[in-house]
Subunit: 401 residues, 2 copies
């Protein structure tokens, strides 16, 4: 394939798949630049159409005109738990268990220290996904240091065997940020439960792309960001899930006044709030939080099962197009071929990956690069179509042509 000539069979298939796609119309709920194929929603989701208007109202009317009164009159104060309840269905959580605020790293610290304090006394190990997104490992090391645990890195595929009577806490990523591998949350959670360990799942790369089922699978604690498949905006507030059965005993290392049972009593002693609200810390970041709330409106009437089905169809089709457009041997997929092990991204290993991605972006196909040699392509079913996948593979082939 020495030029960018389209393969008629692939363009025809893309057209047919797009025509049959019941989610295709959801693209209208986003504002995307003309002429761009955006395959980096696994890093920063696109802009939902309603966010600009909401943000303008929050700034000019709620803040500018109502001022301090908006804490009550614009319902700012309850935003963390209200928005938590809005995203809860996307991760399979019943109401009252999710609170939004802080970054993923900060929530992970709360979750891991909280988990260590929930764990049975005498257990010494904090098992951590060895291929984890780095911040998870760094925060786990800090949480372990401050709670007297020992960090034990594990390959998630063998984690079930590694969990035992010494395991206090297990921290795993649902989808690996680099390879796009989906880990078996139901089985790994069951193994941890059987061994009496407390589970903490990082959902950054799965929430909004596939069913998670936190309640159904008995997960104890979970965290995730909202700026990838949830499209909350750059650095949007993250969330913390505390299963109902653990809420009364959850003992946060960050007991800020917002997590107090009666914050405005301003008592010298901390008395934790009931429910997920005790996961709150300081004053919530209202601009970003209400932008996220507006962003979640794109999910109206959308089922996560349908999103998952389209995600797999998109990544299947992209891999098929890559196989035909890119000369043999130039790229190697590090994302599992089996659906059961694939998230919503395709990671291709190649030489000069940094330069290849720069070329792709110059040609209007936006993915990203992870050192040393990985091209990442994220497929957000709400706004990516099959013609986009074909064009991305064709452009990649052209660069190698």
């Amino acid at each position: 394939m020495s030029d960018a000539t389209a393969i008629p069979d692939l363009t025809a298939r893309a057209e047919a798949l797009d025509a049959a796609d019941e989610l295709a119309k959801l693209k209208d709920r986003f504002t995307l630049p003309e002429g761009v194929v955006y395959l980096d929603g696994n890093s920063l989701g696109a802009l939902p159409a309603g966010v600009a208007e909401t943000t303008a109202d929050v700034v000019s009317r709620q803040w500018g005109e109502l001022l301090i009164r908006s804490w009550d009159e614009s319902d700012w104060w309850t935003a963390p738990e209200r928005i938590g309840d809005k995203l809860a269905p996307l991760i399979g959580a019943a109401p009252g268990q999710v609170v939004v605020g802080d970054s993923t790293s900060v929530n992970l610290f709360k979750a891991l220290v909280g988990a260590a304090r929930l764990a049975s006394p005498g257990r010494t190990q904090l098992l951590v996904d060895a291929a984890t997104f780095p911040t998870d490992g760094y925060i786990a090391a800090s949480a372990a240091r401050m709670t007297g645990l020992e960090v034990v890195p594990v390959d998630p595929s063998g984690a079930a065997q590694a969990i035992g009577g010494d395991t206090a806490v297990v921290l795993l990523n649902h989808v690996d940020y680099k390879s796009g591998r989906l880990h078996d949350l139901p089985a790994l959670t069951a193994a941890a439960r059987a061994a009496g360990a407390v589970t903490v799942w990082d959902l950054c790369h799965s929430a909004g792309a596939l069913p998670v089922g936190l309640d159904a699978h008995g997960v104890d604690l979970a965290v995730g960001c909202t700026y990838k498949y949830l499209n909350g905006g750059p650095g949007a507030p993250a969330y913390l899930y505390i299963a109902d059965r653990h809420q009364a005993a959850f003992d946060s290392p960050l007991p800020g006044w917002n997590g107090h049972a009666d914050p405005f009593a301003m008592t010298p002693e901390f008395a934790p709030a009931d429910g997920a609200r005790r996961g709150r810390v300081g004053t919530p970041d209202i601009l970003s939080m209400l932008a996220l709330e507006a962003a979640l409106e794109v999910w109206e009437g959308v089922g996560i099962e349908a999103v998952r089905a389209k995600s797999l169809a998109l990544t299947d089709f992209f891999l098929a197009c890559v196989a035909q457009y890119v000369p043999r041997g130039r790229v190697e997929s590090v994302t599992p071929a089996e659906h059961a092990h694939r998230g919503s991204q395709v990671s291709l290993r190649t030489e000069n990956a940094r330069e290849v991605m720069r070329e792709l972006i110059a040609r209007g196909v936006i993915g990203d690069f992870r050192a040393p040699d990985v091209l990442r392509f994220g497929f957000t079913p709400l706004y990516v179509g099959f013609a986009d996948a074909e064009r991305a593979a064709r452009t990649l082939g052209h660069i190698f042509g």
Copy 2:
């Protein structure tokens, strides 16, 4: 004073003071609702005029059009330290020592644990302002629990005597949130230094209202919010100051990937960044952060000494008006009369304070209430004038009339 009749002497003085006020024109840099006297800038600062335009650009162009590219092209990535440097002069810090992000509570946890790790081995006490804003006490208790220290509550006026050879860390508020009392940062810092203790100052109620002089007075660590006198917006990101001399040894309990020397290397081991940047944790909250950056533009050409002079003149004048408008015995100021001990708010104790504040707000004078019996009136010299102070006192008098 049985009705709302103005006292001509006071209205004339207000007029003269406003006419002579060189900062009066700064009010044009804010968007304030018509007919309102806003005396709650010590809780939520007013909206700076440039914020709405910046926020619209951040959402629609930087996020919506440039998407992931904005991390570089819109300089999102460096925002925490860049904005830290922009607010540094307001707290007397040379560049490179302030980083913006997270809430005050989270920054306080970093600072207190970091301080405990900087402290000389064998010291056992964490001294905390007994009248502190509650979150400081709650977070101090958690930091102490996790570092093996013991919390010792102290009255800041006697703190210099309480600091001794067992003192590891001293946490004090520069201005008390409830009484408006200004504590003697230079003397208390000097006492702590002389005793070999590490100082952490909470600047929430002083930054932007009066000179702080962190570098000049040898403060070790400090935190503060940006949504009061710095007008950053509801829940805007807070900041952490790490004095140059401590940066190499500062050991954060929240070592997120943004605080890594080379975040995108994604190495399994944490290697802290140089400088204040090691105080970063997770992905910065860009919408709120860039709103804050725009908000800080109101300080262009404004000296904090002039702000302090006007602040004292405003609170003096307000107290004089209250003395004349409010029937004797109905309110009692809990804010010190001496300038050296007064921040930029006036707190009045009264019966039925909650109802009185509700009445004031209904009449267009916005302050706030702190349980059980305190009316708080914050004076932000950038947008509050002397006629506002007169009207507020007159309205208060009318309610008691």
